[in-house]
């Protein structure tokens, strides 16, 4: 019966030869090739839990008096958005665990994409012919940040409202068109009536659809171009050595999906995240402390905190302060990242197609630049919690900020230089004893 049915389908679609080919497709085995898949499964969980949340969330900011399960806020004026999140957390069955899983999955999603990008970068996997996928991947990361921020803002609580306020002042700071842009995006002076509703559409429709589409393209291109692999016995530019999709790779992939689900479910069930009922509803006149954004925006928050309070006039325009750290810095960051494959090809003169990966040491300059860049963003990231550090160490916030400013200028070049020396030495001596350092973890597979 099943045979007849498959035969019937096959006669019409000619699917079996494709399926056969697909199932026999070979994937190289190295753990770091699973990072992207990890991100993919986080996204899947985000969609599943997100659909559930969207059944109960109400994006309107019209106010009403809260009467519900959460006693301490009874009688308080709250927006419908905030109220629906309280209801989700206290009244909807499994609502809170879904909310928490969604938030945890988002944090892990972006972390996985980020580590995946580092792997691609340090192994030179972005080189010809894979530049397009580098561009798509980077776009996915940016979309991830965007959706993280828009989702974080939806509950209309005091903490996320503070984030929105910062976003508003950042948009305002864009020269010439800032005011106009801010009104366009927010629909009026902050706190505008429409912003939550707009973010909702962006968060549950526009960006997720874009992510899903680009992810499909990302995977299709990997499929078409075949996977890269580390050099090793029998591995050449012209072949792929590894496991067949069916059964080995499929099994691994399923295991990974279950693993991701388990970790997200455990965190969602056992570890509290974003208890908005304690933060209280958003009020324009209140500013909470300590106020940090979710981790993936930490570098921007840190840049805002470290940048000196300059207001610079140029070409007759006042450039408001947030412009440099919050518009110019990410602008430069992402442009550099987008252009990197082309810049590198130009600098090295290497325009050949590559299917074998490089190890970090094979290209000391790239590795050193990458580490220096990472060091830079790490300092910015750390600076986002200067107030917490000040509280714990009992050192004035200002001294800590100044220390970070110095660190920001000193640490990246030093880290880069040390990395260069290390990589260069490794490359020349091939010191096997160092192979067990964490740095060489990426290369261990290839030794077998």
């Amino acid at each position: 019966m099943i045979k007849r049915l498959t035969q019937w389908i096959d006669d019409r679609l000619g699917a079996s030869s494709f399926a056969k080919q697909a199932l026999n497709k070979v994937f190289p085995d190295h753990w770091s090739f699973l990072l992207g898949e990890l991100a993919l499964y986080c996204f899947l969980i985000l969609v599943l839990t997100g659909v559930f949340l969207s059944f109960f969330f109400d994006p309107s900011v019209s106010e009403s008096v809260y009467r519900g399960e959460y006693e301490p806020l009874n009688g308080v004026h709250v927006s419908n958005a905030y109220k629906s999140v309280l209801d989700l957390s206290f009244e909807v069955r499994a609502g809170l665990v879904m909310r928490q899983m969604h938030h945890w999955a988002a944090l892990i999603f972006i972390a996985a994409m980020f580590v995946h990008m580092l792997r691609i970068f340090f192994t030179g996997a972005f080189r010809r012919p894979r530049e397009i996928n580098w561009l798509i991947g980077l776009t996915l990361l940016i979309l991830g940040l965007l959706n993280g921020f828009s989702g974080y803002s939806l509950p209309d609580d005091l903490l996320s409202g503070t984030g929105l306020r910062i976003a508003y002042s950042v948009v305002l700071s864009i020269p010439v068109i800032g005011t106009w842009m801010a009104f366009l995006v927010f629909g009026g002076e902050f706190p505008a009536e429409q912003i939550i509703e707009r973010l909702f559409v962006v968060h549950i429709f526009i960006v997720p659809v874009a992510i899903a589409g680009l992810m499909t393209a990302h995977l299709a291109i990997v499929w078409r171009q075949k996977h890269t692999q580390f050099p090793g016995p029998g591995r050449t530019e012209g072949n792929v050595v590894g496991e067949k999709l069916w059964p080995t790779y499929m099994t691994k992939s399923m295991a990974l999906f279950f693993g991701v689900s388990a970790v997200v479910a455990i965190l969602g069930g056992l570890v509290q995240i974003n208890p908005v009922w304690l933060y209280g509803p958003f009020r324009a006149e209140q500013i909470p402390s300590p106020a940090q954004p979710d981790w993936y925006l930490g570098w921007l928050e840190g840049a805002l905190r470290l940048f000196p309070p300059w207001e610079i006039r140029a070409f007759g325009f006042e450039l408001p302060n947030p412009f440099y750290p919050a518009i110019l810095l990410p602008g430069i960051t992402f442009n550099l990242l987008y252009l990197w494959p082309f810049l590198e090809a130009k600098l090295t003169g290497d325009r050949e197609p590559h299917h074998l990966l490089e190890r970090a040491r094979d290209h000391p300059v790239r590795t050193a630049l990458g580490i220096a860049g990472l060091a830079f963003y790490l300092v910015l990231f750390a600076a986002a919690s200067n107030d917490l550090l000040s509280k714990w160490l009992k050192i004035p916030v200002e001294s800590i900020t100044n220390a970070y400013r110095v660190l920001l200028l000193v640490f990246p070049p030093v880290a880069g230089l040390i990395t260069y020396r290390l990589m260069d030495a490794l490359r020349r001596t091939g010191a096997e004893g160092l192979m067990h350092l964490p740095l060489s973890a990426l290369t261990r597979r290839t030794q077998e």
Binding site: V263, Y296, I395
Partner: protein, 258 residues
């Protein structure tokens, strides 16, 4: 010869030690933990533990400020003594919460004695958080206190400039403050904290705030482990360490050759 050098070293270390600790302990007066139960006369306690810094009549000395001006008065004295802020052992010591060295009876005695200074500050308030409305308290707390003490009451750094002690001022966590202390803190405005007197809040509003602060000591922890209620900071750390960490181990494991 060897012995002489050794002896010399020993003596100089001892001398240096005396000089060092002598310097540290010169202004120190044992707060008299042992005698506390026998000496309950407020004047005796004040003269023994406070006068060398604040003066015999509370007029102030170079070691400590005057206690007869500003918001000083019974509420202030009760606050600094019941939160263990006073006495300190050294004029430059950081004034912060400690276990109080006095029994409630001693505190009462000291307050009684210090009333003779006729300081203008407020009296000890009578409080009853049960009569407050916790919802109103939540709103008032978020409006007036959260900017410094954090929405969750965990405290925070204040980035005020000026003098070094102001710059290091930390709004302390409120998780061990009793309602009485909270009410007193609002009345007297300790350190860099502003005063929230009767012209700011009615008695009912004060009780509401007390109720909410009391609630924050052990709030509804639905959702699991609160991780210090620091917010996105600890959440980000957990996402990497408890989330991505195990998943990386997992992919290393299943990524092996089979």
């Amino acid at each position: 010869m060897r012995r002489a050098v050794f002896g010399y070293l020993l003596v100089s270390v001892l001398l240096a030690g005396c000089a060092y600790f002598g310097d540290q302990t010169a202004p120190y007066r044992a707060p008299g933990v042992v005698e506390v139960d026998t000496v309950t006369d407020g004047k005796t306690l004040y003269m023994r533990d406070c006068a060398w810094c604040h003066g015999n009549e509370g007029q102030g000395t170079e070691n400590g400020p005057s206690l007869t001006t500003g918001t000083n008065g019974p509420a202030m004295t009760d606050f600094v003594l019941s939160t263990g802020r006073m006495p300190i052992n050294h004029p430059d010591q950081r004034v912060q919460r400690h276990a109080s060295i006095y029994t409630p009876r001693d505190i009462e005695a000291i307050i009684d004695y210090m009333e003779t200074f006729e300081a203008p500050g407020p009296d000890i308030p009578s409080v009853d958080p049960a009569r407050g409305d916790i919802g109103e308290g939540a709103e008032l707390y978020q409006d007036n206190c959260a900017a410094c003490h954090a929405s969750t009451g965990i405290g925070g750094a204040l980035s005020v400039g000026g003098s070094p002690e102001q710059a290091t001022a930390v709004a302390p966590p409120l998780n061990s403050s009793t309602p009485q202390e909270v009410a007193e803190a609002m009345l007297v405005g300790p350190g860099t904290m502003p005063v929230f007197g009767p012209e700011t809040f009615t008695e009912h509003e004060v009780n509401s705030i007390l109720a909410y602060v009391e609630y924050l000591r052990d709030p509804n922890n639905r959702g699991g482990l609160p991780m210090g209620r620091i917010g996105p900071w600890s959440e980000g750390a957990a996402a990497w360490i408890l989330g991505l960490g195990p998943l990386m181990l997992l992919i290393v494991w299943i990524g092996r050759k089979v």
